[in-house]
Symmetry: C2
Subunit: 302 residues, 2 copies
């Protein structure tokens, strides 16, 4: 099964306690698509500017990511400049954001992608996210990412969008903010009432939790000795999660559990180097070896 | 196998967002012993004052906890008065501490307890903890709890004590402080070099991690909708952990993993009500049912 992602493609400048990197390929759709490509064929819908060259395009092509939906607009590509301070490497401090061509982004879904069944809506304006949903009548699983900006700024639009998606992926603070409730179990139930039957809460170094009906499922974060660049960890999680489900071709509880682990595996690789550097040079055996490490770190006999 | 605990017995006044409780039985040895008693016979070494009555003693007796080592001294029992503020229920704000008879506490191990094999040294002066170790030649597993106070105040004494124990139980901030290193995996390795082959890091609502040789094992915290009183959660974890190992009678990796889960189960019950109120009215089937819930929350097929 194919996976469709709609989101941002960007050039990032990132500084972390481990070093810095300039003008590297970033954005939610980039991280998601390259990651998911290890599991299933991926199609990408995003916009870039005239400064987006063959070298960047080659990254997607090397992973066979479908770029028919990669619109090239007049102007510059979205740029993001951020720093992760040593005292809290989990939270990016945005130094500069230049939306550029992304400001007028209105996702156009190529006809060939309209029968997509597994869809990831990266963190963009919830109104645009909803418009994408309406163009995908065959979608079996639509996953949504969002952020505090939209929760504060366009809560009504976000709620309308939540009512038409199957899965919400958010971090812990965002889940609490959206539900207006500190207790995570209650917050998840509150969000489920807004629409998405599944809620996946990302807790950084503390791992992820999935809430689905009465199921609560935990996966720890892989215990790395050093996080070089946390950028894209959430989108890499989503890429592993959705990619694995598209590969499995079903939404059984067993597949969802494994998808949570593959998501965690991919996020752990993503942060081992700047941008997509680590992710582009992975192999499936490496991925599966780390999947088995997760089993070893969590298994006990009853 | 018997479990021996050396620690504090106290009267607590506790205020949390859920309510408050006055003059309730508390202290590390109380929480540990009552909890561990669901798995194995337990002997307690602690000191109380003249205000410690039959009602409190009855709690230990009802759980068949051996009280031969419960010294009664002239004066009052240790008292602790604390509040858990609504904005951060994970951290107690101590309002008042009256050490009373605990100030002169010098643990005396009854002859009948000298062949104890499973030993928990609750959070007391590390010099006293080490003195206890020296009186227990047959100990197979000595677990140590400590806190920031001793890490700051008596670092050299603490290091000497660490060099003679098998397991250190600490919270995340304490592990980092002791190792002088933020990354938890590195911090654990640093602590292991100080002596204890096993390090269990308690992360509150994020669960626990065990580090032993190359093994890293995670257990999430049980997702409660409400935490009524976090007091004693760490000692209850220790009680479930050590109690289960004494019941199993071995230290195989499989038993250690299950002990981590039983510890988490017991901590989750402990915080459901003030003091020992929930713990004293548990049953083994209830405990095992929650153990199975942990399996359901963490299991995936490879």
């Amino acid at each position: 099964m194919h996976v469709l992602v709609v989101g941002s493609v960007a050039f990032d400048n990132v500084r972390t306690p481990s070093g810095h990197a300039q003008n590297i390929l970033g954005g939610s759709a980039s991280h998601f698509s390259v990651t998911a490509s290890y599991f299933a064929p991926v199609n990408l819908v995003a916009v870039v500017g005239e400064d987006f060259g063959e070298a960047e395009l080659a990254v997607f092509k090397s992973r066979s990511v479908g770029v028919e939906g990669l619109e090239r607009a007049t102007g510059k590509t979205f740029r993001w400049d951020a720093e992760y301070p040593p005292e809290n490497i989990n939270e990016a401090k945005t130094l500069d954001t230049q939306l550029n061509v992304f400001e007028q982004f209105s996702p156009k879904i190529p006809d060939a992608y309209r029968d997509s069944e597994f869809v990831f809506l990266g963190n963009i304006d919830p109104t645009l996210q909803r418009r994408v949903c309406q163009q995908l009548p065959k979608a079996r699983l639509v996953a949504l990412d969002t952020m505090n900006y939209w929760i504060h700024r366009t809560p009504e639009e976000l709620k309308k969008t939540l009512s038409v998606v199957d899965l919400l992926l958010v971090n812990e603070a965002e889940a609490r903010m959206l539900a207006g409730c500190h207790n995570l179990r209650r917050a998840a139930r509150c969000i489920q009432k807004m629409g998405p039957k599944m809620v996946v809460v990302k807790r950084g170094e503390y791992g992820v939790i999935m809430f689905k009906d009465d199921l609560i499922f935990f996966v720890p974060a892989y215990p790395l000795e050093e996080v070089h660049d946390p950028t894209g960890a959430g989108d890499s999680f989503a890429g592993g999660f959705m990619g694995y489900l598209a590969q499995a071709g079903d939404l059984t509880e067993s597949s969802l559990r494994r998808a949570m682990v593959y998501g965690s595996v991919m996020a752990s690789f993503a942060v081992e180097d700047f941008g997509l550097r680590r992710t582009v040079r992975l192999s499936r055996p490496e991925i599966d070896a780390r999947f088995h490490e997760f089993k070893h770190m969590t298994h006990f006999d009853v």
